[in-house]
Amino acid sequence: MKKRIIAAIAVGVVAAAALTGCSSGGGSGSKTITIAYESYGGKQMQNYMSRIAKQFDKKYPGYTAKLVPIQAAENDYYTKLALMNKSGATAPDVLYEDTFLIKSDAAAGYLAPLDNNVKKWSDWSQFPANSRQAGEGADGKLYGIPMGTDTRALWYNKDVLKKAGISVPWQPKTWNDILDAAKKIKAAEPGVIPMNVYSGKGTGEGSTMQGFEMLLYGTQNQLTTSSGKWVAGSTGFKDSLQFIHNLYQGGLGPTAQQALDPNWGNQTPALLSQNKLGISLDGSWVSSSWGTAGVAPWSNWNSVMGQAKMPTQDGAAPGATSMSGGWTLAMGSKSKNPTAAWNFISLALNKDNSLYYATSNQNIPVRTDVASDPTYVKSNPTNAFFAGLVKITNFRPATSSYPAVSNNIQVAMESVMTGQQTPAAAQKVFDQALPQAVGGTKNVVTK
């Protein structure tokens, strides 16, 4: 008898544990909303989100904003977020969502449309029309409120360039000018990595966007035609891979092993600050890594680091190119409390907090009132340069198949940078994989 009672109690305990496990796994009672975002490397994002959560708890008594920082490099962040979204028990109420994933995540049913919410939001008029498009799904509905945008260009260490006999300020006119500078650095300073271009699967979307597309969009070709078809077999694609080949196989870049490390993106700001890297093709936000909350605090960065526009392949008009992306705040479709989730989003992106985000995370603001705010303009000496690139910038193809194509580009880059394939062979592999990635040959044109 006694044994039976003990057994019954044991079963009860296990069942109770299982049940509480389930409910705590949900984490979102009706009064608690969860906010998932990437917190990796520096503390900028964590500071921003904690600030909003504090304001939220105060402004909406009884509600709690629960922060779920995901500590993962960019590629893993997307995976973890997608896995969280798959189950109602773990899907967050508010997501920090990259613009390039909006369309595919909206198609997956992970995001809730926000059109009705912005109708009643007086701040929405501050968001210019072109920035609103970044948050739209393929069905034309709005799924993400843009937090800011970014541009990309060449960052260079003036000390390293001067030592190699290159006069600063430096502005290359063609790809060859860049490679010539890298060769000079290699010859003059053996311990220095002449130039970094992100490449391969390790740095994920960073490789595609900061690396490959910054090259490709400076050629006569792009990823898609103006009618939205994906381009296979273009000369520009092969030339861009050839640049990667010349850089990595010519010993002008980091070793392939360094560049394939998923944490490489966090290491380059430190290498630049230590005069161990000459030139880096990177984003407008890099200087935030040298701030006090960044991965490599460096008070002197502004006098040592210079910025140059990324030239087109052979200097063709408009002479330089750039790519723009950006992040949004989106609402999870499985949110049990959409009102509170929207309250959090609108609070996080009001003027004050947008200004904080733009200055602390070095983002180019989209809100017109923030962009013209003297605090923003004065906060960082590079703001004018990077904001100036907006007029020559390009955007990634806005379709839900983009992430799949991006993966194939990273595969091609990796096989070229490691010398496993020639640029032509890697392009052939890409061309073969393209129809599968974009939903059939009907969406592909061969140049």
Binding site: T79, K86, A107, A108, K201, Q420
Partner: protein, 314 residues
């Protein structure tokens, strides 16, 4: 074993009724014996059979992590498999997986494990104690820790090159130049202890009289190994081969931490490829198809072992 239970049950029935069990009786008894097994069967069905069936089904769909297919998963027939078998990456992965299994499990762990077991039997106590501890340490540490150790050892600025530089040699970046060799050696290092323990136990079971009489007949060490020891521990060899093969086939963490399947695709075995397709490239259906192929390869290996080393009646 069977006869033992039968007698025990028979005794108890005799104790109760005394009559010989009739047919319905026997059926009831069989049912009675099955009841204690039900929880185990249910567990296996839910946690093993269920996922296997789901994986089979998933491999015929376009299930995805994101995009429209994540919401409306549809049945696509053999499309995933067709795509796999047309892809040079997949065929290369199959080859690398076989290389990894044969190199690190079948040859490396088994041969080294058997050799260690034999040597430890002959060696002195202190030496065997030290060697045994060192070998088993690699087995005891968690996979992640073991993999980091191996990474630190083979890395360009790692232990191996530091040791080589003492004697004036400059080693390459092993993980980059010889990725497959590095992960195979790491897996041999990690897994040999298991084989060694299995074979140590098996060898102690070999009756000493037989070895001694062979020795008297003038059989050399090699001959005794081939004609006495190996045939007598044949069944342990079969079991051990099967276990190490299946374990090695599914090694993921070790390779992922050391090389992440790279550089390029140079060490991308099937588990790494499946992870990449499913979780990096969001194509869950395709990743599942790779998992199913692994399941089949494992089954083929198992059948081969069971057939080849089938114990004759003895």
């Amino acid at each position: 074993m069977t006869s033992l239970t039968r007698t025990a049950v028979a005794t108890s029935t005799t104790g109760r009724g005394g009559a010989t069990p009739s047919r319905p009786h026997r059926a009831r008894r069989a049912l009675g014996r099955t009841i204690p097994l039900i929880p185990a069967i249910v567990m296996v069905a839910i946690f093993l059979l269920g996922p296997v069936i789901e994986a089979f089904y998933g491999s015929f769909t376009n299930m995805a992590l994101t995009g429209a297919a994540a919401q409306n998963t549809t049945f696509v027939g053999f499309q995933n498999y067709v795509q796999l078998f047309q892809s040079p990456d997949f065929l290369q992965s199959v080859w690398l997986t076989i290389l990894f299994v044969v190199g690190s499990a079948i040859i490396g762990q088994n041969v080294l494990g058997l050799a260690l077991a034999m040597l430890m039997r002959a060696g002195n106590k202190v030496l065997t104690g030290v060697v045994g501890t060192l070998v088993i340490t690699a087995w005891v540490v968690p996979e992640v820790v073991g993999a980091f150790c191996a990474y630190a050892f083979f890395n360009g600025g790692g232990t191996l090159n530091a040791v080589l530089s003492i004697v004036g040699l400059k080693g390459p970046d092993w993980l980059y130049v010889l990725p497959m060799v590095s992960v195979i050696l790491a897996n041999v290092w990690r897994g040999t202890a298991f084989s060694m323990m299995v074979y140590s136990a098996a060898i102690t079971e070999v009756p000493e009289e037989i070895t001694e009489s062979a020795e008297l007949d003038g059989a050399s060490g090699w001959k005794r190994l081939i004609y006495i020891t190996i045939p007598m521990i044949r069944r342990s060899i079969s079991t051990n081969l099967m276990l190490t093969t299946l374990q090695t086939l599914s090694v993921f963490g070790l390779i992922y931490i050391m090389t992440a399947g790279g550089p390029g695709t140079a060490s991308s075995t099937l588990p790494v490829l499946a992870y990449q397709e499913a979780f990096k490239f969001s194509q869950l259906g395709l990743g599942t198809a790779i998992a199913v192929v692994m399941l089949i390869i494992g089954a083929v290996f198992s059948v081969i072992y069971i057939r080849a080393l089938k114990p004759e009646v003895d």
